[in-house]
């Protein structure tokens, strides 16, 4: 898989999304919440990039900012060789069909006053020409593709279960033949048994339509199942990005190590053997992140340099990116030995 040369479909460079805080009588700007603070990553064509992290670390904001549901503070976003970072919303509308989103809460993401058919047909109405009958036929095909009975087309969302609603949401996202889909915790609101169904459906659709996913989740085992590469976020920054197996087998960043040690191990004998890393303290406020490394307040292997200098986010081993001072000295060696293989992944 790593041998074929893949080109990135989505490439994000130094993406920042800061939300201003207004306070006081005059509503003056007193600061900002740095929800996403300088994130860079590529999503290769046909792959699934898992984006994990704890609650409030900026995963969802990052996903939405990539689709430009927000007006980003700064940074560059290229999707399918088109720069959409600074584009105004009115011009973005015509580019929307390439990129779609599946939302977390299937209940809230469907308009309760519209039938399933109208919901799935809306993107078609907006971006395609054609008769009503053609659109209806397309809706039928989409419903088949996501495993919904075509006969349910005239029903309203409240008549469906959570899993079925999520299928409706997926069908709507597929309506315009997108290349890139951001899945914002698509399974978090579902039962475990339904979660597996929906994830398998997403995988099947990826194969069928050649989709590229940015899969946002806090469920590490599910990400391990679906993702090709995994990015770990902490306090608005990506701390580590690596191919799935490498990340789970040998996490580099101390935060990733702690995060992975928190995954429940079903085998009791193994569970006793594994060491659980328990982090002290709380996540610092994203409106006032610590000086130096964001993780320095809780890092078990913190050094003096961590509290002053912000670590660079760079490739420390082929295909493995991390932002940590622990790997400062290994960088040169890695760069020297990694050779052309590393170059393939960086650009």
């Amino acid at each position: 898989m790593f041998d074929e040369v893949k080109k990135p479909l989505v490439s994000v460079r130094d993406l920042k999304m800061h939300f201003p805080i207004y306070a006081g009588l005059l509503r003056r700007r007193v600061g900002e919440v740095k929800a996403v603070d300088g994130v860079s990553f590529d999503v290769m064509e046909g792959e699934t990039l898992g984006l994990v992290g704890e609650s409030g670390c900026g995963k969802s904001t990052c996903g939405r900012a990539v689709l430009r549901l927000y007006d980003i503070t700064s940074g560059s976003i290229q999707i399918d060789n088109r720069e959409i970072g600074p584009t105004p919303q009115s011009q973005l509308r015509s580019m929307r069909p390439t990129m779609q989103m599946v939302f977390q809460d299937p209940q809230a993401s469907l308009n309760p006053r519209m039938t399933v058919e109208d919901i799935i047909k809306e993107p078609l109405d907006e971006h395609t020409k054609g008769t009503d009958a053609e659109k209806r036929e397309k809706v039928g095909e989409l419903m088949d593709a996501v495993g919904l009975n075509r006969k349910f087309a005239k029903r309203y969302p409240h008549a469906f279960s959570g899993g079925q609603r999520q299928r409706i949401g997926i069908a709507r996202a597929l309506a315009l033949n997108p290349k890139f889909i951001v899945c914002d915790e698509p399974i978090a609101a579902l039962d475990v048994s339904i979660q597996a169904q929906v994830v398998n459906l997403l995988e099947d659709l990826q194969e069928q339509f050649g989709l590229t996913y940015l899969f946002i989740s806090h469920d590490l085992s599910m990400v391990r199942h679906i993702a090709t590469r995994v990015a770990v976020m902490y306090l608005g920054k990506i701390v580590e990005l690596a191919p799935r197996e490498a990340l789970y087998a040998d996490p580099l960043h101390p935060y990733t190590k702690a995060l992975l040690s928190a995954v429940p191990e079903p085998d009791p004998s193994l569970a006793r053997a594994t060491e659980r890393i328990i982090l002290q303290g709380d996540v610092p406020s994203p409106s006032n992140p610590p000086k130096g490394c964001n993780f320095c307040t809780r890092c078990p292997s913190v050094m003096d340099i961590c509290k002053d200098v912000e670590p660079d986010y760079r490739e420390v081993r082929p295909g493995r990116f991390t932002a940590c001072h622990l790997y400062n000295e290994t960088t040169d060696a890695a760069d020297a030995t990694a050779g052309h293989e590393a170059e393939e992944h960086t650009t």
Partner: protein
């Protein structure tokens, strides 16, 4: 205990047939509304009142503006309500048939109420939804305009308008139309603020739907429940408002009349024992307003099941 194979397959066959049109939230609300007895009775009453306003004139033996000179001065014993004379509700102090005039007045009062509520629903909802959806500076400017209009004492302005431009039904409609939408705009804006943060609106943005379409397709239908309830409660307010203006003698011009004007006339002769001159218009006035309130309550219970 286990279901046998045939039965299970029977169920499966049944399911395969079931391509039904799903029940929309509106259909659900309609069913809930018709279970509410007080609301249904009120709706029937309203229908009867409206029928009386529309068709009452046909059954009247006299035109509403026909003055029966022979009755002037002998109203107390000749103008009493009776079937023989054809004055079913008696006559007013000018010798005009009160049945015909009450039918006419009910019609005008209902029209004032419905027009006021319609203006409120159309203008107020769109204005409020637009302000709420765009937010920020647009919202600030639009809502400050509403605040400024609200802070003007409208009764005073309306009375001035009626005095300067002359009393006419058109002026009355204009005046009522000008104020009725302000509250509605505020309510619609508040609701829009909660709806626009729902994910389905975000989905529409992500799909690339135009803002105007998002407002019309996603926001307005979802705030219509509250708007309809408020509109039904607004109709009686408008009727009362018009009655007050007419009571002051500034509303509808003679020979046309409204319930408020009739009550005004009736109240002047009440002390001389002409009770029918106030009681018939008052009966229709109270009936209409009560019915609207009950229908509004019924709609609120039906459209907002969380409150039950």
């Amino acid at each position: 205990m286990l279901p046998n194979r045939a039965a299970v397959e029977g169920v499966a066959d049944q399911m395969a047939l079931a391509e039904v049109k799903g029940r929309s939230l509106w259909a659900d609300a309609r069913i809930r509304f018709f279970r509410n007895r007080a609301a249904v009775i009120s709706l029937v009453m309203l229908g009867l009142v409206a029928a009386f306003a529309l068709f009452g004139g046909m059954f009247a033996q006299y035109e509403p503006d026909f003055v029966n000179f022979s009755l002037i001065g002998s109203n107390a014993y000749l103008g009493v309500p009776s079937i023989e004379t054809g004055h079913y509700f008696g006559t007013d102090s000018n010798g005009r048939d009160l049945f015909a005039r009450t039918a006419m007045g009910t019609g005008i009062s209902l029209m004032v109420g419905v027009v006021g509520a319609l203006v409120a629903v159309i203008v107020g909802t769109l204005y409020g939804a637009t302000a709420g959806y765009y937010g920020g500076r647009v919202d600030g400017i639009m809502m400050r305009i509403v605040d400024v209009l609200m802070s003007i004492p409208f009764m005073f302005v309306l009375i001035l308008m009626l005095v300067i431009f002359g009393r006419s039904i058109f002026m009355l409609f204009l005046g009522i139309g000008l104020i009725s939408w302000l509250d509605m705009a505020r309510i619609a804006r508040g609701q829009t603020l909660t709806i626009k943060n729902k994910e389905f609106v975000e989905v529409a943005v992500a799909t690339g739907v135009r803002p105007s379409k998002i407002i019309l397709r996603h926001i307005v239908p979802n705030l219509l429940g509250i708007v309809i309830v408020y509109a039904t409660l607004l109709v009686p307010n408008m009727i009362i408002f018009e009655s007050f203006i007419s009571f002051l003698g500034l509303g509808v011009q003679e020979p046309a009349t409204s319930l408020g004007a009739l009550i005004n006339e009736g109240s002047r002769t009440m002390q001389f024992g002409y009770m029918w001159q106030i009681s018939f218009p008052l009966f229709f006035f109270v009936l209409t307003i009560f019915a609207f309130f009950f229908v509004g309550d019924g709609l609120r219970d039906a459209l907002d099941p969380k409150d039950r």
